[in-house]
Chain length 215, copies 2
Amino acid sequence: MAIQQVQDDLLRKSYPLFEDNLVSEIEEQGEFKTFPANEVLMRKGQYIRSTMLVLSGLIKIYREDDEGNEFLMYYLRPGEACALSLVCAAKHEASPIMAKTVTETDVMMVPVDTMSEWMSKFKSWYQFVIETYRTRFDELLATLDNVAFRSMDERLEFYLKRAKEAQQTNLLNISHQEIANELNTSREVISRLLKKMEQKDMVKLNRNTIELKKF
Amino acid sequence: MAIQQVQDDLLRKSYPLFEDNLVSEIEEQGEFKTFPANEVLMRKGQYIRSTMLVLSGLIKIYREDDEGNEFLMYYLRPGEACALSLVCAAKHEASPIMAKTVTETDVMMVPVDTMSEWMSKFKSWYQFVIETYRTRFDELLATLDNVAFRSMDERLEFYLKRAKEAQQTNLLNISHQEIANELNTSREVISRLLKKMEQKDMVKLNRNTIELKKF
DNA sequence: ACCGAACGGTGATTCAAATCACATAGCAGT
DNA sequence: ACTGCTATGTGATTTGAATCACCGTTCGGT
């Protein structure tokens, strides 16, 4: 099958509500790219010239501060786009976030100027943009709730649930250090809490893997 | 002057980018309301049937959790609307937030169904919606940063700066207890930190008022 | 099979913030 | 002016989490 055909299938499957004309324009204007796992797609402070439409794989979006602290905001799955890239693209602002692939990921890069045209041209596009804002807003609120109201053990549970859902597996391949970074705490704290969860038979721990049992 | 004329003036002044036809429809479909200071406009869990367009005054938007904890998300000033009410209105979902007036406030209540029509009918309306999402997203990120990365003294400073800007005054009429609630901490902590700031000559404290000096 | 790096476990200590306990000050209503 | 309520000040104690110190384990590379 031609490469173009594969890309078209991916796009239509991930974004079933897009009109045919919109799909054609995306294919014309956009650039198809594949990134390996664990690749940083965007750093804080970079300028954004295009939005990524996720076609396959999984992306993590982080917030970073000036001292190198970071924490996980949310995941992006196929059919989703980052609200922030829509924001920044529109304002030609520097990115306030960092994006990183979890698994190998296919995306379609769409240039900014094109996007704003589509807003008036394609109903399905602005519905998509609105829906993107909506779901990202909800996700961000959930993250905020946890940071503001919950103690570290509750936040860890929430983190693991979210990871399970995003990655569709009970077997997470991740180190304690990485979890600590994503919750903006220290490795020791996570190790201790995970150990307690193991004693309650909620998880099973092995080097670089966490098996989720009661989730 | 007729009441309708006053309302029309307020609306046009606060939302100068709205098309004439849109202003007419808002006046036809919407309901003009005035709330006194310190009135709760919306509680968590309520269902949202309309969005508020702020015409004058000032509103605070809080996040609440199930145990009665709360914290301030951001302010809404004239010309602004709450992104969340747009979200929930669209999804017919319960409100995840609480809204409260700071000063006497005039708003225009717009029913949900009408709003979605406007999305395709009035370019200035969907531009407004997009812009609302954008700015609320930015505000929410700033709030999140503070909770996630900053210590309580830094968060307090940020809080005071934001309050000054929203209320356009150096003389805040607010108790330590109220600040504590809005930062989800305890009154003693705020009293102590404010005392330290007074010693540094950053503020001047009096019963129910805080005078901001170096801000 | 050995080495070095990354990973994970765990006690001891420090620290910021929450909580407890109580005192004092200022304002509002009678 | 008295009363009572709300707001504020401040020490003492507790607590959850961060940090420090150090250990053994596992894995990948040669």
